[in-house]
Structures are given as structure tokens and as C-alpha cells.
């Protein structure tokens, strides 16, 4: 038996790591991976609460989060490729115009 709070604390630590990566990293791909890490942390909370309350809605929500994450990864990486093609850099500090 593992207390529910352990899962929530693990999820908070992972989410914190994701936010730290988002704030500190300068590479646009690593920042994108930090966002995926945050989504994973939230998924863990969903599954932990689903197991705690004994309902399956949490699992369904995790499924939808994964679908949105997959769509986001496809579009986001396409944007990264388009940005790299015009700027020749992956550093977010050098990408300061919305215009391509």
C-alpha cells in the first residue's frame, strides 16, 4: 500500500522539473520536451486519483491528454522546422519575431 500523497508529490516534483526546464533551457526543442514532461506529471495525477476514487474517468482523460499531446508535438515540431529553416538557430532568444 502506497499513500496517495506519494503519487501526488512525485507528480509535483516532475511538474516542477518541467517548469524549471521551460524557464532555464534556451533550446526550443528542450523547452518543448519540458512541456511534455509537465503533461506527463498531470497524467500521473489523473491516474492516481482514478485509482484512489475507483473511477475510470481519469484513465479516459489521460487518453485525451495523450491525443492532444501527440497533435501538439506534430504541429509544434513542424513549427520548429519552419523556424529553423528561416533563422538557422534553435535558440529561443534569437527567435524574437512572429514573422517567418
Amino acid at each position: 500500500m502506497v499513500p496517495l500523497s506519494y503519487y501526488l508529490v512525485l507528480s509535483a516534483i516532475l511538474f516542477g522539473c518541467g517548469v524549471l526546464g521551460f524557464l532555464l533551457k534556451r533550446n526550443i526543442i528542450t523547452i518543448f520536451m519540458s512541456i511534455e514532461l509537465m503533461l506527463n506529471a498531470v497524467n500521473l495525477t489523473f491516474v492516481a486519483f482514478a485509482a484512489h476514487w475507483g473511477v475510470l474517468s481519469g484513465h479516459i482523460f489521460v487518453f485525451f491528454v495523450m491525443v492532444v499531446a501527440a497533435a501538439e508535438a506534430a504541429v509544434g515540431l513542424a513549427i520548429i522546422i519552419a523556424v529553423f529553416r528561416t533563422r538557422e538557430t534553435l535558440n529561443v532568444d534569437r527567435v524574437n519575431l512572429l514573422k517567418l
Binding site: A12, S34, N40, A51, V62, A70, L77
Partner: protein
């Protein structure tokens, strides 16, 4: 007895991978440590009795999404990260705010939060059980996700297309 040991093992793998993601300079190393995080999260999902979610986590996250990341990193020939001064403000303002938010969340969770244990496999999360609500109560959201995926495919093609 085995349940807490397994939980702490996989939780340590998760946190270690997440910290390695932050420490590494090269994006490919960060991507590989993110795969470690996702695989050990899948094992934690198995401990929670979410077999379907664990399988989808491995197939979609550790498989498809991370392959996409590694593919783009190699396609763009991304080198080691270069440091620039612009990250100073984020570090000065963001980290204290993050520490306060996480600390508050941990305090509420551990002191006044929901207490209770999660038994091994307390909720049946095998595909047969998950499919029932997915195709009944959540049928409309499920169908809407197919439209979302279609739009994402078209958006990715249009964005990554070389303009004439």
C-alpha cells in the same frame, strides 16, 4: 511490501531522468532521458492498475512522440545548447514563484489533503474496462479527437512544407 519498493524504485528513476533532462546540454541526451521518465511512468501506471494507460504511454509517448522528437533533433542537426543572457529574468522571477507554488501544493497535499492508500490494482484499467466508458459517455469527445488529429496532420504538412 514489494509495492512500496517498486514505487520508490520507479519514482527515483522518474525523478533522476527529469533532473538529467535539465542538466544535459545536448537535446538528444535530454530526449533520451525523457524516454526513461516516460517508461518508468508507464511502470508506475501499472502499479496503479492502469494497464491500458501504461500500454498507450509506451506506444504513443515513449514510441511515437519521442521518435518524432529524436527525428527532428537529428534532422536539424541540433548542437549543444548555447547560453544567452536572456534567461536571467526567468531564473530570478520564475524559480521563486515555482518554489512557492510547489511548496504550497506539497504543504496542502501532505498536511490537509486527501489521505488514503492506493492498493495494488484497486481499479481495473484493462482495455475492456476502459473501452466501455470511452465509447458510451465519452463517445463525442472521442470522435472530436479524430478531427483534431486530422487538423494536426494537415497543419504539420502545411507548416513543414518548403515554400516555393
Amino acid at each position: 511490501m514489494l509495492h512500496p519498493i517498486l514505487f520508490f524504485l520507479f519514482a527515483a528513476l522518474c525523478v533522476g531522468g527529469a533532473i538529467n533532462l535539465l542538466v544535459q546540454k545536448h537535446p538528444i541526451n535530454s530526449a533520451l532521458s525523457l524516454i526513461v521518465v516516460m517508461a518508468s511512468l508507464a511502470l508506475i501506471y501499472l502499479l496503479l492498475g492502469a494497464e491500458f494507460v501504461a500500454a498507450v504511454q509506451v506506444i504513443v509517448y515513449a514510441g511515437a512522440i519521442m521518435v518524432l522528437f529524436v527525428f527532428v533533433i537529428m534532422l536539424l542537426n541540433a548542437g549543444a545548447e548555447e547560453r544567452t543572457a536572456g534567461s536571467r529574468i526567468a531564473a530570478v522571477l520564475g524559480i521563486p514563484a515555482l518554489a512557492v507554488a510547489i511548496g504550497l501544493g506539497l504543504y496542502v497535499t501532505l498536511q490537509h489533503g486527501i489521505t488514503g492508500d492506493v492498493a495494488l490494482g484497486s481499479t481495473p484499467g484493462y482495455p475492456h474496462a476502459v473501452a466501455r466508458p470511452l465509447f458510451r459517455e465519452f463517445l463525442l469527445p472521442f470522435e472530436v479527437t479524430s478531427v483534431l488529429i486530422l487538423i494536426a496532420i494537415m497543419g504539420a504538412v502545411v507548416l513543414a512544407k518548403r515554400s516555393e
